[in-house]
């Protein structure tokens, strides 16, 4: 198969999978326990790394931009610049990348080894639809948890930025917070929470598809895990560009 056909084929498969997840929501059975379990694994489990990423990203942003802003005499606006870049871009994208590394790999490896050890077949033979039992709870948990993780990352990023501003550059807390509040517009908040919703779909769709289409034994599990992580990371970044453009056209540029 040439690369373009292959790409279109994969795109079709992933969309079809997500569509079937969506349709399946309106018909029982629903596996609520499984959903709660996945929310715990995906959400609570990823919280530490996402918070850590957020905190240090916010910190390093201030560390690098403060001198420049100071040179132009606008260092009182540090809070605004950190908050806007975190909420619009870095929060959603970095959280999605961390989650695709952690959860995308876990999902495709788990589903892939279930395929090669015939557990998926056993499940079907015992009258369960693996899509409902395995795919739906994971995709929905990702869609629900990723926006929440992103918000947490944003908040910790601002805290990190504020800490650096005050402890390293000696800026006053209150002026930093005031600048943050000035800087954030409602468009940024809306855009910043819509994005992770789509990233959740991308990560969930690609990882579940890669896992379930595993062939070729344990080596195949390795391959599909690599593919799941690489593809979902790339697609998060590519899609982020178009999504940002779309949000800009629909909601306006926002401040700054």
């Amino acid at each position: 198969m040439n690369p373009i056909t292959k790409f279109l084929f994969e795109l079709q498969e992933v969309s079809l999978l997500l569509w079937r997840v969506f349709i399946g929501l309106f018909r029982g059975p629903r596996y609520l326990d499984e959903f709660v379990k996945q929310m715990d694994i995906i959400g609570v489990g990823s919280l530490p790394i996402v918070l850590l990423t957020g905190f240090f990203t916010g910190g390093v942003l201030v560390l690098q931009t403060f001198p420049t802003l100071q040179y132009y005499g606008v260092h009182s606006e540090t809070g605004r610049s950190v908050a806007v870049s975190l909420i619009r871009e870095l929060g959603p994208v970095l959280s999605a990348l961390m989650v695709s590394g952690r959860i995308g790999a876990a999902i495709s490896a788990e589903l892939g080894s279930m395929v090669v050890s015939q557990q998926i077949d056993a499940m079907r033979a015992l009258g369960t639809d693996p899509l409902k039992k395995l795919v739906t709870p994971r995709v929905i948990a990702l869609i629900v948890m990723l926006p929440l993780l992103t918000v947490a990352a944003d908040i910790f990023g601002i805290i990190g930025g504020g800490s650096v501003a005050s402890y390293i550059y000696g800026q006053d807390h209150n002026s930093f917070i005031a600048s943050v509040r000035d800087g954030i517009a409602s468009q940024d908040l809306i855009g910043g929470t819509i994005k992770p919703f789509f990233f959740g779909l991308i990560i969930g769709g690609i990882s579940c598809h890669k896992g379930l289409s595993t062939t070729g034994g344990t080596v195949g599990v390795g391959t599909s895990t690599i593919n799941a992580v690489v593809l979902s990371s790339i697609w998060v970044i590519v899609f982020d560009f178009f999504l940002s453009k779309a949000i800009q056209s629909i909601l306006g540029q926002g401040t700054l």
Partner: protein, 298 residues
């Protein structure tokens, strides 16, 4: 087809007579409908033809033993029956219902009638032995109070009650296989598919599994397919039957003492075609060179 099936059928089974007999002699007419029927099924993976026009039936209460070399398509037949694979052409009927074009959703009620023992066990790693065995009933929404005694009964059946709390990774290969059997048999399916259930087991355990299959066949009227390479299994299944006395004790008797087994047949696959179909006596008497080497290993 390599051999004309009529040639190897029982001599009394002249088609018109057989039909007449069944209609008249059987007071439950639905018994005439076979539990499993393959009609000219063909399946190829890429350009490798695995099944090439396979037709056979498994009657109610009958056990069909499938022999054939490794890679010969035995597991494929079983996967087709469950609808895990679809044939390229031909028809598959379960209890008279054509399932060849069923969607996943339509297959669900059909699969509930079937218990399957996977060649590699295929236990759910993340679930305990108890949860594995209880899986089917839980999915059907049965109350937990009803599930527990049923799971214990099934595990007793395969002599693994003590392992109920263990995880599959803590079990030996043979134990995993037996848990797989318990999982397949819960809910009393009317059709049971065994895919090499005794491979890699010690002779007494293998014997226990054969006894289980015999018991299902003779005492519970289960139709089954039993894939095996082992000639001992073949001998047990085709020459012994289970009887139950007043106290409910099950014992096994050899055929010939009181009656002759008619509910077990052998089917042999070769190069995607059915090479032999008939009773085990016929198989042993066959003059076909391939069958001889298969039985005696040389």
């Amino acid at each position: 087809m390599a051999l004309v099936p009529e040639q190897v059928r029982e001599p009394t089974a002249e088609p018109s007579l057989e039909e007449f007999n069944l209609e008249a002699a059987v007071d439950e007419p639905e018994r005439v409908v076979p539990a499993i029927e393959f009609r000219n099924v063909r399946l190829a993976f890429d350009d490798k033809v695995v099944l090439d026009g396979v037709s056979f039936t498994v009657r109610r209460g009958e056990t069909k033993i499938i022999l054939g070399q490794s890679g010969g398509g035995k597991s494929t037949i079983i996967r087709l029956i469950l609808g895990l694979l679809k044939p390229d052409s031909g028809e598959i009927l379960i209890d008279g219902e054509e399932i060849t074009h069923h969607s996943e959703l339509d297959m669900m009620p059909v699969r509930q009638k079937i218990g399957m023992v996977f060649q590699e066990g295929a236990l759910f790693d993340s679930l305990s032995v108890y949860e594995n065995v209880a899986y089917r009933l839980r999915e059907q929404g049965v109350d937990e109070e009803e599930i527990e005694p049923e799971v214990r009964r099934m595990l007793q059946f395969v002599a693994l009650e003590y392992a109920i709390e263990k995880m599959p990774s803590e079990l030996s290969g043979g134990m995993r296989r037996r848990v797989g059997i318990a999982r397949a048999l819960i809910g009393d399916p009317q059709i049971v598919l065994f895919d090499e259930p005794t491979a890699g087991l010690d002779p007494p355990t293998a014997r226990t599994i054969c006894e289980l299959a015999i018991e299902l066949r003779d005492l519970q009227d289960v139709s089954s397919i039993f894939v095996t390479h082992d000639m001992n299994n073949l001998r047990y299944l085709s020459s012994e039957y289970a009887v139950v006395d007043e106290e409910g004790i099950v014992s096994f008797e050899k055929e010939g003492e009181r009656l002759c087994l008619i509910n077990t047949e052998v089917l042999m696959l070769r190069d995607g075609k059915i090479n032999f179909q008939g009773t085990d006596e016929k198989l042993r008497q066959s003059s076909d060179a391939y069958i001889k080497t298969f039985i005696h290993g040389k």
